[in-house]
């Protein structure tokens, strides 16, 4: 425990924090055995065995497999054994073993201006930008330290002056599909790296689309906060005069689609990066009703949303078509390359960013309609 508090103090010193501030909730990344390996697993078991307990509501990032249905989905046994060891270590610390990158859709919802310590990059982006809560991009261990100590150093995005945009993005085309938001996010993240973009020209966007936009920017760059004129809660109040402007039009988006497409025909299509909302699952159930898939389609989501989808009968419709709802995990952190898949179809800019490096996948990046069509 002392080691974890020392980590927070050291971070506070580096970044000139004036004090420690209490956090309202925490989300801890670094859960999949595939991501953290033996060193991470032993680190967590060591902390748990010393009796460390969290002080605030703490959720987990996705694990490397569906924690209940892993056998049926074909996850390897030795992998499962280690994954469950990690989950048990977290549970021992009093962490809610939810395993989702969308805690805000599963019962961990911060309020506007609440200080939190979240770490999954898309969840950080969503809570800062769409909700207006305040968190830095915490590393897995620094978020865990905040959960156990109940505080975080007061620096960076916890301070209003650091939440001001430093680049303007002028969007000159109509975004339709969620994948368009993913492509826009991927392009902008590459351009602005760790800056805070202020978007104009986005006429409307629901929370699924903002989730896709933020996730892609946090993957291709390190964007932890963005503002959208007329849409996000801090946009009216931030200073946006005299900023360097980047225009993004049809051409840039088409080029991004082309760039992210490295594969020809998907062996598997995976939706739900970040984890699918109930609205996204309902839409897929509509599209799959009465259809017969020739190749697998997975929809990744949180356990809570899966439960609601079950009650609505969506899971049954999707299963009848040959698809699977997969909870607690996602394609990026699960060992899909060891499950015989070489090309994965996705509608997520974030997934398209990570799959080639981390899962050795060729990627088909497309909208939901083209992806469903490809598997029929």
């Amino acid at each position: 425990m002392e080691r974890l508090f020392r980590l927070l103090v050291r971070l506070g010193e580096i970044y000139n924090a004036d004090s420690m501030i209490p956090v309202g909730s925490v989300q801890v990344a670094g859960v999949s055995y595939k991501s953290i390996g033996d060193p991470g697993m032993e680190f967590l078991e060591d902390i748990a065995s010393k009796g460390a307990k969290v002080k605030v509501l703490t959720y987990l990032n996705p694990a490397g497999m569906d924690l209940e249905n892993w056998k049926k989905l074909g996850f390897p046994e030795d992998f499962a054994k280690n994954q469950l060891r990690i989950i048990n270590a977290f549970k021992k610390m009093g962490i809610v073993v939810t395993s989702t990158c969308t805690p805000y859709l599963a019962g961990n919802l911060p309020r506007f201006r609440e200080h939190i310590a979240w770490s999954e990059s898309s969840a950080v982006s969503f809570s800062n930008s769409v909700i207006g809560a305040r968190t830095n991009r915490e590393g897995g261990p620094s978020a865990l330290a905040a959960a156990i100590c109940g505080v975080t150093p007061n620096y960076g995005l916890h301070l209003w002056e650091n939440r001001q945009p430093n680049v303007k993005i002028k969007v000159n085309f109509n975004l339709n599909y969620n994948s368009d938001f993913g492509a826009l996010g991927w392009y902008v993240g590459k351009q602005v790296k760790n800056k805070i973009p202020y978007f104009t020209g986005i006429k409307d966007a629901n929370t699924d689309q903002l989730k896709a936009l933020g996730a892609a920017m946090a993957a291709s760059g390190a964007v932890a906060l963005y503002h959208v004129e007329g849409i996000t809660p801090e946009a009216d109040n931030v200073k946006k005069e005299g900023l360097e402007t980047i225009s993004v039009g049809k051409k840039e988006i088409k080029e991004t689609y082309d760039k992210l497409n490295t594969g020809k025909k998907p062996d598997i299509v995976i939706f739900g990066c970040p984890h699918a909302s109930l609205r996204e699952i309902s839409l897929l159930a509509d599209k799959l009703e009465g259809k017969h898939l020739k190749r697998p389609v997975w929809i990744c989501t949180s356990r809570m949303v899966k439960e609601a989808a079950e009650r609505m009968g969506y899971n049954e419709i999707i299963a009848k078509a040959g698809g699977s709802i997969v909870a607690d995990t996602c394609m990026v952190v699960s060992p899909i390359e060891k499950m015989g898949y070489k090309t994965t179809g996705v509608n997520s800019g974030k997934a398209a960013n990570y799959l080639p490096g981390f899962c050795k996948q060729e990627v088909c990046f497309a909208n939901i309609d083209d992806l469903v069509e490809a598997q029929l």
Partner: protein, 127 residues
């Protein structure tokens, strides 16, 4: 050159310089220290034992565990020099005990330069 201490310690080695940010998660293999991100300027090169120089971190926050894991697996870089170290890399190097400083004009360091890094004092010397 003088910078800010992120994680103390001393290291000596050959510079491996990336003009682009590095995302450790999905960017560097935790077992081999080889850069695996497709299209990255360092793709295919090994960071083990080198002084790894890059502007800033990017991408997944699980990167801290990858840095920690590289060290535990004995394939970590000997030291890290950044323009701006963000929390993910800072957390990783502090936990792993890898000497690291930032606020350095990294453009002055060329790939292959012999580097002495004294992160206790926040000093970089190009030999």
């Amino acid at each position: 050159m003088k910078g800010r201490t992120i994680s103390p310690g001393k290291a000596e080695g050959e510079a491996i310089v990336s003009p682009e940010p590095i995302g450790f998660y999905g960017g560097i293999d935790i077992n081999t220290g080889i850069v695996i991100e497709k299209g990255h300027p360092l793709e295919g090169r090994c960071v083990t034992g080198k002084i790894l120089v890059f502007p800033c971190g990017k991408g997944s926050t699980v990167g801290s565990y990858v840095i920690y894991g590289l060290k535990k697996n004995d394939v970590a870089p000997a030291g890290i020099i950044n323009k701006e170290t963000e929390t993910i890399v800072a957390t990783g190097v502090i936990l792993a005990g890898i000497p690291c400083i930032d606020k350095i004009e990294i453009e002055k360091i060329k790939d292959g330069n012999k580097i002495f890094l004294d992160a206790d004092k926040g000093i970089v010397e190009i030999k």
